[in-house]
C-alpha cells in the first residue's frame, strides 16, 4: 500500500494521468483548472513526457487527436467555456474512434459565467459535447481520491472502447486538498494496431478519419459505434448508495453537490427522516439500474445540483411518475448549503407523507 499524500484535486488529476501512462498533455490556461496545467508543465519534462501549451483550446484538443492517432495516451483539460471550444475536436475524436481523456473542471455559465464551482455542463457532457451521434463516458468524482481512481480508469475505458472519456469535476473539487493514495505508474499502454505510426512497409496504410461520404457506410459506422455504447451501458455504470436501503427520501447528487447532500442526509436521519443519498459516478452511462432498484421503496426523490436542473431529467427518466422528483439547485457558482438541502428534504418528506 502506498502512503497517503495530501494533494490538491487539480494536481491529482495531472499526477494520476501521468501514472496512467499519459505522456502527452495539451492545454490552454483557464481558471479553475490552472494548477493541472502548471503541474503538467513542471512534471512532464522530468518524466520524459510532453507538456505543450497550445494556442487555443481548439488546437489543444486537435493535438490530442493527433497524439492519440499516433498511438499515445493523451489528455487535455479545461473549464466550461474552454470545453465548448473543444467540442468540435471531441466530435472528431468520437467519429474517428480515438481514445482520449478530457477533463472539465466546471465553472459557472453560460458565457464567461463565473470562476466559481458549478455543475452546469451536465447536459453538455452527457448529451451533446459536439455535433453528430455520439456519446462519451463521463465520470463525476466526488473526492480527491476518486479523482485519482477515475482518471486511471478513464484511460483504460477510453482504450477499451476507443472513445473519448471525460472527467467532470468542478472548481470545488479541483481546488480542494485531501489525502490521496496514488497507484504506481503503469509501464506499458495497450497496443493500438490501428494507429498512424508509419507502416514501415510492413502493412497496409492506416487511416484515422471520420468522413464517410457514402451514407450507408456512415449509417453502418454509427450503428457499430452504438453497439459499443450498448456494451458500455451494460458494463460501465457506477454509483454509490448511502443509507438508501430503507430510504423514503432519496437525494440524488453527484460530484461536489453530493458531498453537501451527504451531510444533509445525515442531518435528516437525526431528525428521524429516512433519507438516503444516491450518487451517480458515471453520468453517462447513467446508473439507471441501481437507481431503478430504489424505486420499490422510495417515496420521493430530490435532485440536488449546482445548476438550474439538468440531471433531474435523468432521474425522472428512471422514476417516471412512480414518485415525485423534486429539484434543488444553485447556479452561477453558488454552492448549496447543507441546511438548504435539509430544508428541501424535510419539505419533500412532508409532501410525500400527506
Amino acid at each position: 500500500m502506498a502512503e497517503k499524500v495530501l494533494m490538491k484535486g487539480n494536481e491529482v488529476l495531472a499526477e494520476s494521468a501521468m501514472r496512467a501512462g499519459c505522456k502527452f498533455f495539451f492545454g490552454y490556461p483557464i481558471t479553475p483548472q490552472t494548477e493541472l496545467s502548471a503541474y503538467m508543465a513542471k512534471r512532464m519534462p522530468k518524466c520524459g513526457g510532453t507538456f505543450l501549451q497550445a494556442e487555443s483550446e481548439i488546437a489543444a484538443i486537435n493535438m490530442v487527436y493527433g497524439a492519440s492517432a499516433a498511438g499515445a495516451r493523451a489528455m487535455t483539460s479545461s473549464s466550461s467555456p474552454g470545453i465548448s471550444l473543444k467540442s468540435e475536436g471531441v466530435s472528431y475524436i468520437a467519429g474517428a474512434d480515438l481514445p482520449a481523456v478530457i477533463i472539465n473542471v466546471m465553472r459557472g455559465g453560460p458565457g464567461l459565467g463565473s470562476i466559481q464551482p458549478s455543475q452546469s455542463d451536465y447536459w453538455q457532457a452527457t448529451r451533446a459535447l459536439g455535433h453528430g451521434d455520439f456519446q462519451m463516458v463521463v465520470y463525476a468524482p466526488s473526492t480527491v481520491q476518486e479523482m485519482a481512481d477515475y482518471t486511471y480508469k478513464a484511460f483504460d475505458v477510453a482504450d477499451e472502447y476507443r472513445t473519448p472519456v471525460m472527467i467532470l469535476a468542478d472548481g470545488m473539487l479541483g481546488q480542494m486538498m485531501e489525502p490521496v493514495e496514488l497507484r504506481d505508474p503503469i509501464e506499458e499502454i495497450p497496443e493500438r494496431p490501428w494507429a498512424t505510426t508509419g507502416h514501415n512497409n510492413e502493412r497496409e496504410h492506416n487511416i484515422v478519419n471520420s468522413l464517410y461520404l457514402d451514407a450507408d457506410l456512415l449509417d453502418q459506422m454509427n450503428h457499430e459505434r452504438y453497439k459499443r455504447y450498448e456494451k458500455i451501458i451494460a458494463t460501465e455504470q457506477a454509483s454509490e448508495e448511502f443509507l438508501c436501503d430503507d430510504a423514503d427520501i432519496i437525494v440524488v447528487a453527484f460530484g461536489a453537490a453530493a458531498r453537501i447532500a451527504r451531510n444533509s442526509v445525515r442531518a435528516a436521519r437525526e431528525q428521524g427522516i429516512k433519507a438516503g443519498l444516491f450518487r451517480p459516478i458515471t453520468l453517462w452511462p447513467y446508473p439507471t439500474e441501481a437507481l431503478e432498484k430504489t424505486v420499490a421503496h422510495a417515496k420521493g426523490y430530490l435532485s440536488v445540483e449546482m445548476n438550474m436542473g439538468q440531471m433531474v431529467e435523468d432521474v425522472r427518466l428512471v422514476v417516471g411518475n412512480r414518485a415525485p422528483v423534486d429539484f434543488y439547485g444553485r447556479a452561477g457558482g453558488v454552492i448549496p448549503t447543507p441546511a438548504e438541502v435539509l430544508d428541501k428534504i424535510v419539505a419533500l418528506n412532508e409532501k410525500v407523507g400527506e
Binding site: 505543450l52 486537435n62 492519440s68 484515422v208
Partner: protein
C-alpha cells in the same frame, strides 16, 4: 527497323495509390499530389511518413497517399500534425491544406505551429477560392475577384484584403523554410518539386518547420478552361503573390532556426543570457 530498347521516362509514384481521385479535370491538386508522392518515394520514407489531410477538395487525400494518413477537422491539420510529431519525432509528418483551411479557419493553428517551429512540412494550395463548397470567396481571393459570395467582386472596403501567408509567416522566428511556387509550366513544376523535397529534407535533417505555398488554379469554380486559368493566375495572382523563397535559414547563412532567432533578438538580456533553471 531495329527494335528500340524500352526506356522508362515516367511512372506513377508508388506512394500515390492507383485509385481514382475526386479532383476536377485541369486541377493542380493532381500535380502537387504527384510531387509530394515522388518526394516520399525518392527519399524512401513512405514507411515512416504520416500525412494529414484538411477539409476542402483534398480532404480525401487519405485514400490517395500510400503512407499512414489522418483526416483533420477544418483548419486543424497543423495542430493534429503537431500531436503526431510530438509523439513520434522520427516520423515524417506533413499536412496538405488549401487556402480556406490554412489561411482562414485555421489561421491560428498555422501561425502558432510555424512560430513554435514544429518540425513538420506544410503543403499549402492557394487557388484563391473555396473549391469543394462551390466557389466562395477565400482569404486569398484577390480584390475585385468575383466568387459566389463576392458576386460583385471582392470589395476591399467591406471584405478586406487577401492574406499573404509566406510574407506573414516570414515575420516569425519559428519557420526554417518558406517558399512560394506554382505548377503552370514544366519548369515551374520542377521548381515546385525541388521546394517540396527541400521541405521534407529539412524535416528529416531536423532543420525545422517548412511551408511550401503552391499558387494554384480552380478551373471549375473560376469558370475557365485549365489553360485560361493558368493565364488568369499568371496575370492576376503572381503579381500579388510573388514566387520565391521567403525564408531559408540555412541559405541565409544561419546555423539553425535558433541561431537565426537569436540574431534577430537584438540584445534582449534574457534571450541572450538564458533564463532561470
Amino acid at each position: 527497323m531495329a527494335e528500340k530498347e524500352e526506356k522508362l521516362v515516367f511512372e506513377r509514384p508508388k506512394s500515390l495509390l492507383p485509385v481514382v481521385t475526386n479532383f476536377c479535370p485541369g486541377c493542380t491538386h493532381g500535380i502537387v499530389h504527384r510531387l509530394v508522392a515522388e518526394t516520399i518515394d525518392e527519399l524512401g520514407i513512405e514507411g515512416k511518413t504520416v500525412g494529414v489531410t484538411p477539409v476542402g477538395c483534398s480532404v480525401m487525400g487519405y485514400n490517395f497517399f500510400g503512407c499512414d494518413m489522418i483526416e483533420a477537422a477544418h483548419g486543424r491539420a497543423p495542430a493534429v500534425a503537431t500531436g503526431v510529431k510530438r509523439v513520434r519525432p522520427d516520423n515524417v509528418v506533413y499536412a496538405y491544406q488549401g487556402d480556406g483551411d490554412l489561411a482562414s479557419i485555421g489561421t491560428a493553428e498555422t501561425v502558432h505551429t510555424a512560430t513554435r517551429g514544429e518540425n513538420i512540412t506544410i503543403i499549402f494550395i492557394n487557388n484563391a477560392i473555396y473549391g469543394m463548397t462551390g466557389g466562395q470567396m477565400a482569404p486569398t481571393s484577390l480584390p475585385n475577384q468575383v466568387t459566389q459570395t463576392s458576386p460583385y467582386g471582392r470589395d476591399t472596403s467591406s471584405a478586406g484584403y487577401p492574406v499573404r501567408i509566406c510574407e506573414l509567416l516570414s515575420t516569425l522566428d519559428g519557420p526554417a523554410y518558406l517558399e512560394r511556387v506554382c505548377v503552370d509550366t514544366p519548369a515551374h513544376v520542377r521548381k515546385a518539386k525541388k521546394a517540396i523535397k527541400k521541405g521534407f529534407q529539412y524535416q528529416i535533417d531536423g532543420v525545422g518547420y517548412s511551408l511550401i505555398e503552391v499558387v494554384s488554379t480552380c478551373p471549375t469554380n473560376w469558370g475557365m478552361t485549365p489553360q485560361d486559368s493558368f493565364e488568369w493566375m499568371r496575370e492576376n495572382m503572381l503579381p500579388y503573390y510573388p514566387l520565391g523563397v521567403y525564408r531559408d535559414v540555412l541559405a541565409e547563412g544561419y546555423e539553425s532556426v535558433a541561431d537565426a532567432a537569436l540574431k534577430r533578438a537584438g540584445d534582449s538580456k534574457i534571450v541572450v543570457e538564458g533564463g532561470a533553471q
